[in-house]
């Protein structure tokens, strides 16, 4: 089954919509699905033109397509456990919170907290992602635990904070402090970043661009070879964060930066 949700024009388009109900399992039966516009509860058809085509007997046969002004629709795909969501444009904060399986494709940009504390499944974002992409939430010590977040563009600060499992790939740049508090999983950064992996206790972070302001608590541990986008790269390996047991690995591509401070 394919469900197409196209946004209707709204009187106050800046009021965000909270739409944790937009997940494939909810569309299997034609439930009365509701979302919030600000503090007002709305029926789904008050916000979207809805067209549904084809049958489905299980949630993994459901595909939801969101189009139109979707940039401030929040929490789409929260707790999603099967199926597919395709966002034709941008998506608001908290897309794919806690998702455990299935796939989300975003053709535009994603706002902050993309895939926060995700357990499994795949999120692909063809544009940029905001701050706290694939991170844990306030106070939670285990962030993303499984699955894949693949961002073609850049991501903001605190990418993959508290990452404890699964894989995060940012093909562009990251902002400040990617992989901070990491304890497992893999973070790959195709571009540049600042101060990666502070206080990491486990996991692996690879940076194929420049690292600015490498923290002094990372200890050189030799060289390794890694492959990125079909190219073999010589990497410098650092173990850290030695301020917190130092069991994580940070690999930085050679030649681009010398001590990490240029």
């Amino acid at each position: 089954m394919r469900v197409i949700l196209r946004t209707k024009p709204r009187k106050k388009p800046f009021i965000p919509i909270e739409a944790e109900t937009i997940i494939p399992q909810n569309f299997l039966r034609k439930n009365d699905i509701r979302v919030y516009e600000g503090n007002k509860e709305r029926r789904l058809e008050e916000i979207f033109y809805i067209t549904a085509e084809g049958p489905a007997v299980s949630p993994d046969q459901v595909e939801i397509v969101l189009s139109g002004e979707t940039g401030n629709i929040k929490r789409v795909g929260e707790y999603m456990n099967a199926g597919r969501i395709v966002v034709e444009g941008d998506i608001g904060m908290h897309c794919g919170n806690f998702m455990s399986a299935g796939e989300i494709i975003i053709k535009g940009n994603a706002d902050a907290w993309l895939g926060r504390e995700m357990r499994g499944g795949t999120i692909r974002c063809e544009g940029n992602a905001g701050h706290y992409c694939a991170a844990g939430y306030r106070g939670e010590k285990r962030g993303m635990r499984g699955g894949l977040v693949d961002v073609m563009g850049s991501a903001g600060d605190f990418t993959a904070e508290y990452l404890s499992g699964g894989e995060v790939r940012i093909h562009g740049d990251c902002g400040d402090l990617p992989g901070v508090e990491m304890r497992g999983g893999t973070l790959t950064i195709g571009g540049h970043c600042h101060r990666p992996c502070g206080n990491m206790t486990g996991g692996t972070c690879m940076v194929f661009g420049r690292v600015y302001d490498l923290l002094p608590t990372f200890r050189g541990a030799g060289n390794e070879e890694r492959e990125y986008r079909g190219q073999r790269c010589q990497m410098m390996l650092y173990k850290g964060d030695t301020a917190n047991r130092g069991k994580g690995s940070l690999l930085v591509k050679k030649n681009l930066n010398r001590t990490g401070t240029d």
Binding site: Y137, R138, G139, E140, K141, T201, N244, R245
Partner: protein
Amino acid sequence: MSEFLIRNAYVIDPLSGIKGEIMDIAIRNGRIVEEVGSNAEVIDADHCLTLPGGIDSHSHVCGTKVNFGRYMSPEDMRAGRTARKGVMHVTSGYSVPTTFGNSYRYSVMGYTTVLEGAMAPLEARHTHEEFTATPHQDMLANTLFDGNWSIMEAVREKDMKRAAAVVAWTLSAVKGFAIKLTNPGGTEAWGWGEDVHSIQDQVPHFGVTPAEIIQTMIRANELLNLPHSVHLHCNALGVPGNYRTTLDTIDLVPDLNDKRQSLYLTHLQFHSYGGSTWKDISSKSEDIARAVNNKPAVAIDMGQIMFGRTTTMTADGPMEFKLYMLHHNKWSNHDVELETGSGIIPVYYSRKSLVNCVMWAIGLELALLVKDPWRCMLSTDNPNGAPFVKYPEIIALLMSRHFRENEIALLDPRTAHYVPLPAIDRELDWYDIAVMTRAGQAKALGITGIGKGSLAPGAEADIAIYPLKPESLDPSAEYQQVMAGFGKTRYTIKRGRVVARDGDVVVEGANSTIWTRATVPPGYDLSVDPEFMKKFEQYYTVRMSNYPVQDVYLPRGICIPTEASL
């Protein structure tokens, strides 16, 4: 004039010697009376278990420490969310919920009085503000004296009367209820990066030992004729092999009061460990229970742990640091000027951890091996061992051997090697539970005189009616029903008003805060003592005149006045 009549109640009222009788209870203007008129509103209890309102004699629900637990654990607020409903405010949180969350959950379980286990005197205002926002329970505050400089100086000078004078001034200034000693001397030592390891260790710079502090304070407490005894969190909490320190402490206790015990030892589970490291930790509950059984002058509470997530918080700063070194998670450490300190960390008690399994067993063993239920209160040291919402499950474990066996089967299989629990047959009965959850507390806290803990005419009409029919229910087999029943009253009545019904809170609540004021002879009034005033001005960041908590912080304060024998 409001009148109520509760009909056909299955009453257990240990303080009145009622051990399960079908009775009517008459209420007028918030008090229990002999009889009421024919126009009284009638509640048909239908043979359901009816007890005096529950009293928690050791819980952490209000004050800066609890609030810091809230700050540092925003993830805790994801659980326990309830929307606004009728008179109920929104609530959130599991181990450190909002004040209304605490209050409603206690009320729904039939609890009408709660003692906050540790109030830092300097931060008393905030504690009282949170008491006011915990509207369904009468609140009392144990006041921390463990690292109080003036107390330690008095102990060094062997001047018991001076110590009593410090307590009298402080309790009345901060509107506290009783003396709390948390790891006496240890928190002051922690200010120097140290700790005390036994009751004979010296506190740095003061040259006094925990044993001297404890003995002086027990006697000073009696000089002031305070309702409650000294409330002690022993030294060496959570350290393998610490049962020796606990036994040494119990040995110190004189019997000085014929109305109640002379020392209350809190969360004794955390103080009953054998072994020498975390690898060989074992239960010493049998030794501890024997010592308690042989010493009528002490009362204890269990400090049961239950598996799952919670937050630990205590004035015992050095102990929390040791826990932090084990978990490497979040940690807060706090110093309270000339008085005390605190530490907070979140923890997860797991069935996969042998240490946690041993701890779980010890709490239950203490409750089952201490023969006199009047001297062993049910507690989790909320939230240190578990949030208080686990009490019904603990009651069911104590009442049903079958339930315990089922739970033991889920533990690390090595547990049985380190604990005596599997061999203990005792199943507590309804009377024991009534004692351990209200009557025992009322006696130990010395608040029977203001009408707490009983259903006799003249008592406060604090009543809990549970959907449990002891005449036909076998708690040993039907423990699930016991658990559900103690979790949600049919009616909770506070001061003659129905405050909760079938799990919903139905009125706003208007609690009282109970505090003590000991009147001392002029020579012992520290508010005009030059030496005390000088110390205050020299070391505190607040002026002495700004220190006392004003009456406005206690909108419905109840003062228990005493006359000191100095």
